[in-house]
């Protein structure tokens, strides 16, 4: 005979204070667990979405970010002749020769400086990135000291808003527009005319060449050709892969940190659940004896207590996730050590995170409940009836 679920539920309800305290302990652990996974996912999502699958980024061999790379004008013009690139309406290929450097800008409010990516763009740069939209102002005119700022830069950094002026490279640069690139890395960049910026920074080389493939399947052939041409010493990457790799180290660091912390914290919460369940068993000794006497089997008693512990875990998990879901409203901005530049990203809650957190919470509940439940199921009928 099985013990109904409501029995376990009511037991929890009767001892509300204890139940609430145990649940809040577990909820906090689940909150930390979910928060750190959400952070790592948010970072990965931001950088994965930054690149498009059919765009190719050409950088110097061995450089893992555009800042470290350089492509001479001569090399860039060789790539420009590739027949695999999409040709635009004006007869020119969909190709941009870009320059990427870092500048130090103070944040609004705190005045703490951080590294910001500044990208010198060409005529096709915007068309190559459909995720980037101008939301206010206008594009910088070629040949003028004008720049546009990504949304996160405009909000967070001093001088990033329209009409404001940022000084670097011995010139004053007027911000004439703000662009939105959704939750991608471009939102944390400043764009301006490549030739003007190269002149200001006294650079003679580009950082990268980006073009769109007519047929994405051509990639392997293009990669082979660029990789082996002795004039180039460059390498071609799919844009999506290129940016995704920049998140790997940081995401791994967050995951390791998160797992270590949550394992330690979960020990605390499991012990909390264990205390609660042991005392639940102890105070109900006579009740358990009675149930056994009525005819409930040992396995039913075991089941009832494990269900009670799992309920604790489940409610804790739901509360923790509920709290963690509010984190999605937050945007974190920190330095990405792989590129050494500022990157804004938000906590991202995915279905897999929800599942992982709930399984984790149930595991905690089970680990806390299994020993007390075994004790309850092993009780001798006569002795337990005598207990009160």
């Amino acid at each position: 005979m099985r013990i109904p679920l409501s029995y376990s539920f009511r037991n929890l309800w009767t001892r509300r204070l204890t139940t609430a305290l145990t649940i809040s302990g577990m909820a906090l652990v689940v909150f930390v667990f979910a928060a750190i996974i959400m952070l790592a996912e948010g970072l990965e999502k931001t950088l994965v979405e930054t690149g498009s699958y059919d765009n190719v980024v050409v950088v110097r061999k061995g450089s893992n970010s555009e800042v470290m790379s350089w492509v001479t004008r001569y090399q860039a013009s060789i790539i420009e002749t590739l027949p695999e690139a999409v040709i635009g309406d004006d007869g020119k290929p969909f190709l941009a020769k870009e320059m990427v450097v870092l500048i130090t800008l103070p944040k609004r409010g705190t005045n703490i400086p951080s590294n910001v990516v500044i990208r010198g763009i060409g005529a096709s740069s915007l068309a190559l990135r459909p995720q980037v939209r101008l939301i206010a102002g206008r594009m910088p005119r070629p040949g003028l000291s004008e720049i546009i700022a990504g949304r996160s830069i405009a909000e967070r950094f001093r001088g990033g808003g329209i009409g404001e002026i940022i000084r670097f490279g011995m010139r004053d640069w007027m911000v004439v527009g703000t662009f939105d690139a959704g939750s991608t890395g471009f939102s944390s960049e400043i764009w301006g005319d490549a030739d003007q910026l190269m002149q200001a920074f006294r650079r003679t080389v580009y950082s990268s060449v980006i073009f769109k493939l007519r047929d994405p399947a051509d990639f392997e052939r293009v990669k082979e050709w660029i990789g082996t041409d002795p004039r180039l010493s460059l390498e071609a990457n799919r844009e999506s892969r290129f940016y995704a790799e920049q998140s790997e180290d940081m995401a791994r660091f967050l995951r390791i940190l998160g797992t270590t912390l949550t394992i330690i914290f979960s020990l605390g919460a499991v012990i909390g659940a264990m205390i609660t369940m042991y005392s639940a068993v102890a105070t109900r000794t006579a009740e358990i004896g009675t149930m056994r006497a009525i005819g409930f089997e040992r396995i039913s008693i075991l089941g009832a207590f494990i269900v009670e512990a799992l309920l604790l875990g489940l409610i804790g998990g739901c509360v923790g996730l509920f709290l963690a879901s509010f984190l999605q409203l937050l945007t974190i901005s920190t330095i990405n050590f792989q590129t050494f530049s500022e990157l804004a990203f938000s906590f991202t809650l995915t279905v897999s995170t929800v599942w992982k957190s709930l399984v984790f919470a149930l595991t905690m509940g089970f680990a806390g409940g299994v020993l007390p439940a075994i004790r309850a199921s092993r009780m001798n009928i006569v002795e337990s009836l005598r207990a009160s």
Partner: protein, 385 residues
């Protein structure tokens, strides 16, 4: 004395429950201590910095170099004692996972600026005499088991190619906070190669370390340096070594804030666990409290008993936690120590541990105490279980 005996007896009436509570407090205090140590390890670079050293770098950002000619101009400025240039090399040893910092330095002056790197005299001389030589810190030696005379090959990321260096010197840190995970080689070696392969990038320096004669004049000298290069192609930003390190730390600010928040979460978790134990204890003993009240005990005595018991349990857990923190930090330091220059538990952490445990003990006892004190004698006596 009598009171303490009563508290102890009471605390260990439920041996299993108390032991579990103490265990969870121990774990939490341990975790809290380790998190704090982790955060202070982050700041170790700034702690180890000298007050008499300034760092001059390109005002646009660190990725832009400064010309070699600045060295002599800086040395001419009043108050400057010694100048040495360094350049971030960003070489990779075998694989990207083997990360360590490697710098091309103006060897003689740079080592003179950092007396905390202690070399055996013959090794220092051998390093300075050989242009292809490199020298590394003790921790890197422990990690890779290099020996003097070994050839170490780094793959350049900023400077293409593979670069071979002969290990000539191993240094030890003078203080525990000195960074023993650095790899230095001669800037001249890098520069001579660049002159052949990429002449436009030769004769450049990443940053200058400047020693001032009088630390009290550091701010003034820093301003004088920046003024010298105002309105030039490479304007400079000079700050104290400490400010320079802190600017790196503050860039990772969000992560540090997150770790700090998380270390408070662990405190809340133990408050919940301890409060739970105390609530259960007090509920079971309501009848006893009613008897105490009948005997004439006042509310504050009963409150004292509950709070005392709670404090006793948390303090025992706290002591275990504090005792375990240094060995745990040592083990952790062995695992991730290569990323941090020092991983040491400081006294402040221990004081904060004790303070936290006291707070947890008090907070956990509030609700049970309030219930026990408020209960009417008749209700307490009537209640069963």
């Amino acid at each position: 004395m009598y009171i303490l005996k009563l508290l102890l007896r009471n605390a260990f009436r439920h041996k299993l429950r108390t032991a579990l509570t103490i265990l969870s407090i121990t774990i939490a205090i341990l975790a809290f201590g380790l998190l704090r140590t982790f955060i202070s390890a982050w700041y170790a670079g700034a702690e180890a910095s000298s007050a008499s050293r300034l760092v001059t770098r390109n005002a646009i950002s660190l990725i832009f170099p400064l010309p070699l000619s600045y060295k002599d101009k800086i040395r001419q400025i009043d108050g400057v004692k010694l100048v040495a240039g360094g350049r971030w090399f960003a070489g990779i040893y075998i694989d990207e996972k083997n990360f360590f910092a490697n710098y091309a330095i103006d060897a003689k002056n740079y080592l003179a600026l950092y007396p905390e790197f202690i070399f055996p005299p013959d090794q220092k001389a051998a390093f300075l005499a050989d242009r292809r030589a490199c020298c590394v810190g003790r921790k890197l030696i422990e990690r890779y088991r290099w020996r003097i005379g070994d050839i170490i090959t780094l793959k350049g990321t900023l400077f293409p190619g593979t670069w071979g260096f002969v290990l000539r010197g191993i240094y030890d840190g003078r203080d525990t906070s000195t960074d023993e995970r650095l790899f230095f080689f001669h800037w001249d070696y890098l520069n001579e190669s660049l002159k052949k392969t990429a002449p436009r990038r030769a004769d450049q320096v990443g940053w200058y370390v400047v020693e001032v004669q009088d630390p009290n004049r550091a701010a003034e000298v820093a301003q004088a340096i920046d003024r010298t290069f105002e309105n030039s192609l490479a304007e400079t930003l000079t700050e104290t070594e400490r400010a320079f390190f802190l600017s790196f730390v503050s860039m990772a600010g969000a992560i540090i804030v997150a770790i700090q928040l998380v270390s408070f979460v662990v405190i809340i978790i133990i408050i919940a666990v301890t409060a739970n134990t105390m609530a259960m204890t007090a509920r079971e003993r309501i009848g006893e409290y009613a008897v105490f009240k009948t005997l004439g005990y006042r509310g504050w005595r009963i409150a004292g008993m509950i709070i005392g018991e709670s404090l006793l349990i948390t303090m025992i857990g706290c002591l275990f936690g504090i005792a375990l923190t240094p060995p745990a930090a040592q083990v952790l330091g062995k695992i991730i120590g290569t990323y941090f220059r020092a991983f040491q538990v400081d006294m402040a952490t221990i004081y904060i541990d004790i303070g936290t445990a006291l707070l947890v003990g008090l907070l956990a006892a509030i609700v049970p105490t309030w219930r026990a004190v408020k209960i009417r004698i008749a209700d307490g006596l009537r209640r069963i279980g």
